[in-house]
Symmetry: D2
Subunit: 359 residues, 4 copies
Amino acid sequence: MAYRAGIVGASGYGGVELVRLLTSHPGIDVEVVAAHGQAGEPVANLFPNLAGDRHFDAIDPDELAALDVVFLATPHGPALDLGAVLHDAGTRVVDLSAAFRLSADGFGTWYHDVHPRPDLAAGDDAAATSTVYGLPELPDPVGGARDAGGATLRDRIREATLVANPGCYPTATLLGLAPLASLIEPGTIVVDAKSGTSGAGRPAKDHLHFSHVHGDLVTYGAPAHRHTGEIERWLPAGLGAITFTPHLVPMSRGLLATCYGKLVDGTSATDVQDALHSAYDHEPFVHVLASGTFPHTKALAGSNGCQLSAVVDDRTGRVTVTSAIDNLGKGAAGQAIQNANLLLGLEETTGLTAIGMYP
Amino acid sequence: MAYRAGIVGASGYGGVELVRLLTSHPGIDVEVVAAHGQAGEPVANLFPNLAGDRHFDAIDPDELAALDVVFLATPHGPALDLGAVLHDAGTRVVDLSAAFRLSADGFGTWYHDVHPRPDLAAGDDAAATSTVYGLPELPDPVGGARDAGGATLRDRIREATLVANPGCYPTATLLGLAPLASLIEPGTIVVDAKSGTSGAGRPAKDHLHFSHVHGDLVTYGAPAHRHTGEIERWLPAGLGAITFTPHLVPMSRGLLATCYGKLVDGTSATDVQDALHSAYDHEPFVHVLASGTFPHTKALAGSNGCQLSAVVDDRTGRVTVTSAIDNLGKGAAGQAIQNANLLLGLEETTGLTAIGMYP
Amino acid sequence: MAYRAGIVGASGYGGVELVRLLTSHPGIDVEVVAAHGQAGEPVANLFPNLAGDRHFDAIDPDELAALDVVFLATPHGPALDLGAVLHDAGTRVVDLSAAFRLSADGFGTWYHDVHPRPDLAAGDDAAATSTVYGLPELPDPVGGARDAGGATLRDRIREATLVANPGCYPTATLLGLAPLASLIEPGTIVVDAKSGTSGAGRPAKDHLHFSHVHGDLVTYGAPAHRHTGEIERWLPAGLGAITFTPHLVPMSRGLLATCYGKLVDGTSATDVQDALHSAYDHEPFVHVLASGTFPHTKALAGSNGCQLSAVVDDRTGRVTVTSAIDNLGKGAAGQAIQNANLLLGLEETTGLTAIGMYP
Amino acid sequence: MAYRAGIVGASGYGGVELVRLLTSHPGIDVEVVAAHGQAGEPVANLFPNLAGDRHFDAIDPDELAALDVVFLATPHGPALDLGAVLHDAGTRVVDLSAAFRLSADGFGTWYHDVHPRPDLAAGDDAAATSTVYGLPELPDPVGGARDAGGATLRDRIREATLVANPGCYPTATLLGLAPLASLIEPGTIVVDAKSGTSGAGRPAKDHLHFSHVHGDLVTYGAPAHRHTGEIERWLPAGLGAITFTPHLVPMSRGLLATCYGKLVDGTSATDVQDALHSAYDHEPFVHVLASGTFPHTKALAGSNGCQLSAVVDDRTGRVTVTSAIDNLGKGAAGQAIQNANLLLGLEETTGLTAIGMYP
């Protein structure tokens, strides 16, 4: 018998990817597909891959609270409210927005608003244990700063009620850098990140017009994109402020984070490879490629995988880690399902075994 | 317990899509992944989505003959030989090449070669019942020419040994036009077809260089592309010669056939819709969209689906049917698995429930 | 000393392409760059290729009337008004909209509105000689229906005040089919056309989101796209109603019309080639490629050229003409400048010698 | 009367862009279009934008030596020989390869070969004054290291015989960083660069197949791409080793260099803007955008322009400069023509006034 799930914000790209992926999930049935302002409209009007008779549902908190798990794929505003209501009702929630990822203070700094529920802000050291940042492979900071060994956050996710699903850029960046934390000089990290347009969301905007993006590449959001704060919060402590610069790439899906850091004196290329392999050789979704082989975003399209590799430049003493994901997969909906599996006591990989679509 | 399968020609796009799709197939295990001239090479060198330790195998006919089913994804030359060998050994074969799709005469005409085994040429009226054209939804010509009712080829596929998996263009075109055969004036059919570059295969060629295809659209192969003969062979009898013109579109996957025909006097738009719905409302993979809604190739990416719709122009008396598939899905590997399911007595949709990746 | 020009509707793609092309035109200076609702805004905010200090101007009919030539790149609504005002003031006008392309009756049929100035409707047999359809290479219908010989419209353009610049699809289609008019059976023409997204205009719309168009191909507007009426009006008389089906292709610029027609009995492939060469060998912008070589849209990007070729299929008796242009070049702004050159008595090719950007 | 030019290596992308741009150049006529192994073949076979009767010429050094200027667009191997021969004959040469950009030692380090003519290696302090690195906007190192003021290399180019035209990545990077040299801490520079596929050249290769590049993004060449050495050689002295990482972006043209550096204590955002404006406000091809506005590669397509802007992050003390060019324009053929104009005593902008093609 399958668990009963609801998706709120199903008219956005994160939401529709949840619908798509959960259709093949053997342990979770999607009972509610809700979208603000679109109740009653055929889903296929927005997403032609979902041909059929399904219509968007209205958002009914009571109905949602009765489900086994609810995915929130709305902007962080509505998620702050609905996430707290569902959490307080004891309903398991995976929130794909930024509502609960930072500390209450961090939320104020980067989102310019007062957090209504500091006890649920997963990035707050004083937050309740019922809330947690949902990057299962990340070393649990409690277990020792800047050390890749020890427990990861997946153990705390299993016990939580509300999971703050990470942002797409933080997911790729943290997976790339966390294992190397003790090998990198504080204050030297630069992250040059690139994303396809689906990361910008579904609403039609001038800068997302096909005629503008086709054949174009552009930086945006520098020097203070909001994901900077999330990355700094969840990097192992002591690495200092980072420079984070995102770019919009003419592709629909795919995200690559190229992460630079100065190595601590005496660190060898072997140390770097060992740290990565030690962190990920037993992880089902993170694959370390041989140094000199670089990850292709397209290899992950539609999957929950992350591919990464590192090169060390002896001339400059820097390590360069490139980390690729599907921003809608491991960067959003795939990871949300991974977290739901953990919340529900299912095998972590259930419904997530699809391989990236290539070519 | 799963059936044991082999893939020959796994270094091509059809082959690697078989590997990708079968990885999630609960009833078929891939035991052999063979590619001419690449035995021993890591699969991931060619296809980064298949990260891992798998290496290409050598092509060993005896080893293949011992399997439950073999997919041939080679050019038609090698498939002519290997298909016959395996068939004669009683091994079930799905051949993705053109080797066995036409009659022996038709093969001579369109492929300029003598067919070595006319008894296995599925398009030959005198061919053995152990060979069949693998478009399961196509009305069985034996059951009555130009009539959409009655049996389809799936019944004969269940009893066959060697299935000639259709070409990508014929699949989309035949699905669009076959149900309307009795409504269309002979000699009036024009098919304007468009395909992404994966239809041209993996070998690097000048005209497939990204810098040439990006921002470009071009006709090719007119007026005598080989798929013309295959379409004419499998359209219900009496429709006459067709004009078929393919185009190369700047996308990787996706195929759209825009099919034009003059309607028989007195045919109404309702007659057209009724014929399509009658043919497909019970089909799991073919979806008829409302007239005026047009299929998007992207909605089918990675799936085994076909979406089609028809409009009738009263001013000209013509029907226009647009039929979309993923050329590597329903146009190649997906359909091959559908045929293998039928051959093996599995549920026809097993392993093929993935929804198209959108956006 | 250069002629003084104004562009109205400069915030659209046709308008900005006029700005771009005229910047290099030695005989025309752009004095007014007007856009409804955007007066005062920096042009570079919308079009980063036009870095600099230029700002959009307000639309001032009196100011425009004092110029040597005005390009109208607005929707047909505003163009109906402004075109008539400027014409009546004796100011030369090239209107890129559909306002004056058809007859008054045709305008009513295809645009569902009463034409306010039938005397300026270039497609009206009774229209004033001061107005003309602006396809310079098209045989003048007065000179003999269905005959490619004789005068072209360029002679009448030289004497006109108001030029109705053709639509993008009609330009490519008419250039492809007009020379063959006497060789094609009436009632047999099918035009399958494909355009990049810039043909859909600059406003952000859901179906133009990069994430939706990337990797997608879709039919639209069938069976009664408005350009059907324009093509039928300007095809040589007697060819009957046509079926015209446009498609949206994942590229920004470029338009290909694949035109099918049944040849009159006894027509040879040589007849077809001779007709095309006779029509275009002396034309500076239309290039006939060898039969079997097909035009690439990308070869025309940014230019005013048209490339076309024809193949004859003896099996079906059909000719297939493929005709490629840049929809913003020969399909809009380039052709408008060609017409302005004729209006102003300049050499027809002035400012239009740029070669397509490839790769 | 126009100068007579030859292009060697005209079958490559740099060569064909020279042909395209020079067709509109009023002061230079292209008399020779030579390509190794392709003499006699129609140019249009490779480049459909160049429809017409032109055929590739053979490479004849004597014929070339009699011309006013020769562009070498070959690999560096042939260029080493032919460049020296023509230089010694007193013929002006613009070499687009890496043959003469570094010092003889640098060439050995990065290209693993002995330089046959150290006297012509423009990066050699002891090189003859008849050879020079062809970045006209770069401060002349003789005039004072790490200072943006004073003379630029254009003065030396005017007097030279052999110009080593810069690489595409070095052009964008040096234009972005050179004016800030005295403001950046040595040893802190990271350059994350991104290029379209035309930068990889015309020969068909697996990794350039449209089906592989479409929807993909990948790092390559790290950590020791050859352009690293060229950038380090021509950055103002004292900035130390840099980390340079290129990426392949799914677009045909366009290059973006995102350049990071730690600012010297006390440097303000205003200092940065002032340095950029001081360097470029009088330059015709380099445009400094307002801080917070980022350059679009597409805005430069087909032009010789460079757009750049800088942001300062007070949290990290880093400056991020993003610098965009068309890799075939200012990154290759456009800059080569700019250099030829200087060599020949023409106005520097002759034939280079085309605005980028957008959308």
